[in-house]
Symmetry: C2
Subunit: 285 residues, 2 copies
């Protein structure tokens, strides 16, 4: 954290950090003081994922905001939430309902704080499914849909995107075959073992594969039913696909797949137009 | 492949490549010719994983060996197998049986080839569980246990190792908590969503966590029951573990975990003694 705060000060960045506990506020305030900077703090509200965040009805909610406001090195910026449980929804209607609940919770928390004289500049929501399904952003000042940049099988399953709209796929070669499976040269070290964001696991397989010369929409997609580290097991579904054939695999969850590659190959109109280095992967300290 | 073959020739490496089909042999032979080198070829035998490899009874087995021997740029080295299905076994006894079957299959294939005048120099087996459980290596010239270097929850589950023998763990901090979970700062981008090698899935959780000041053996281990990308959900099991506490997590599958880190921190006797860069991750082309 200290490296981040120091770098933020050096580059004059308006750095904002999310907190959800008194301990978190104290650690952040101490870090900001030591870095000689003032840091914006957003209070995370739990809108149903039950991961981080304070619940709307928690008596500590207002107290944490007051602790933030009492720290000279911190500036209370507003509220933030992440409705990641939307990834496990059954359909678009359920996602839209989760999005509506999220907006209403944040509106109520904001109103409560403002009635106590606390200014709430930002109200920030995230999660790609809710942003694709939401019908209202009343009072929302920021959206943070991350998966949105590529999409993957989850928004397709939820009826929020078509498979052709998914912008990230893994190009593999059939390297072997047996009486049950085509074996491709992409395993869990490329596709991840992810069955869907936040462990939603709705996918039922590790990806859908189709021959490169076909469009994902036309194709009778094949299921990647099992993974080793360097190999994927694909059900041929009666199709004659020879060793050496190239398959394109649309993954369950694009985010950790991008995180496994040194480089993304950018294709437009069937031609390679650029290569992007994946800069931030592995940066966990 | 061409980069590998060329580098192999330049460095004078005795490069050996695994094949299991005529197409594979042809591609390898062409590559070796173009690189101006002679490459050793091992024939993979499927001993039960049903991934790559030719089955013992397949009439193509002898033909593929003859094709290898007819290629000037190739040298037939011997047989190779990987009993990865051992990771999904129920216990040590079952692993030992899989190991015994593997050795018997390879002995029979070798005998058959040798009776036809084919020299079989190497008989190579792999998989950490079978190597830990095997009672005989008759006729085996090489073992390739990869997971062996770290171990993880799978050999522990199979009764082949104790949890204290596992040499790779992930150090995390409790960053939040709610009425159900401790939330730690390690998610699927650190632990992977792997439930066990080859999709064996025997683990029932994404890792076991224990406070750093406790030994894994003494500790009432906590289960990592769910993962987001940057967060893990840990069941506190009635223990009072505060925000800020450090937990150590033993993963289900150490191999793809090492593959996610830029660097491994080497600890001996409770002290950091070295840092190792993970050089080969992301090198999928």
């Amino acid at each position: 954290m200290q490296r981040l705060l120091t770098a933020g000060r050096q580059h004059g960045t308006d750095l904002r950090v999310v907190v959800d506990s008194r301990v978190g506020v104290e650690v952040l305030a101490r870090g900001a003081r030591e870095a000689g900077s003032t840091v914006g703090a957003l209070l995370e509200i739990d809108v149903g994922l039950h991961r981080c965040g304070v619940r709307e009805g928690d008596p500590e909610l207002v107290e944490i905001v007051q602790v933030i406001r009492s720290c000279e090195a911190l500036r209370f910026v507003g509220l933030l939430s992440h409705a990641g449980h939307a990834y496990a929804a059954a359909d678009r209607r359920q996602v839209a309902e989760i999005a509506a609940v999220e907006v209403r919770i944040l509106q109520r928390v904001r109103a409560k704080l403002e009635s106590g004289g606390v200014r709430v500049d930002e109200v920030s929501i995230g999660s790609t499914p809710t942003v694709l399904a939401s019908e209202s952003y009343d009072g929302i000042t920021e959206i943070r849909p991350g998966n949105y940049v590529f999409l993957d099988r989850t928004p397709v399953r939820l009826g929020l995107a078509t498979i052709e709209q998914v912008a990230l796929s893994v190009l593999t070669t059939v390297v072997s075959r047996n009486d049950q499976y085509l074996i491709v040269d992409a395993g869990s070290k490329v596709l991840t073992s992810d069955l869907g964001a936040h462990g939603s696991g709705g996918a039922g397989s590790y990806g859908v594969a189709f021959p490169v010369q076909e469009s994902a929409a036309d194709s009778n997609a094949l299921n990647v039913v099992r993974l080793s580290e360097e190999h994927g097991f694909v059900e041929p579904a009666g199709r004659e696909i020879p060793i050496g054939a190239k398959l394109r695999i649309v993954p369950n969850h694009a985010c950790p797949v991008a995180n496994l590659a040194d480089e993304l190959v950018v294709v437009s109109g069937g031609r390679v137009v650029d290569r992007w280095r994946v800069a931030a992967r592995g940066k966990t300290r």
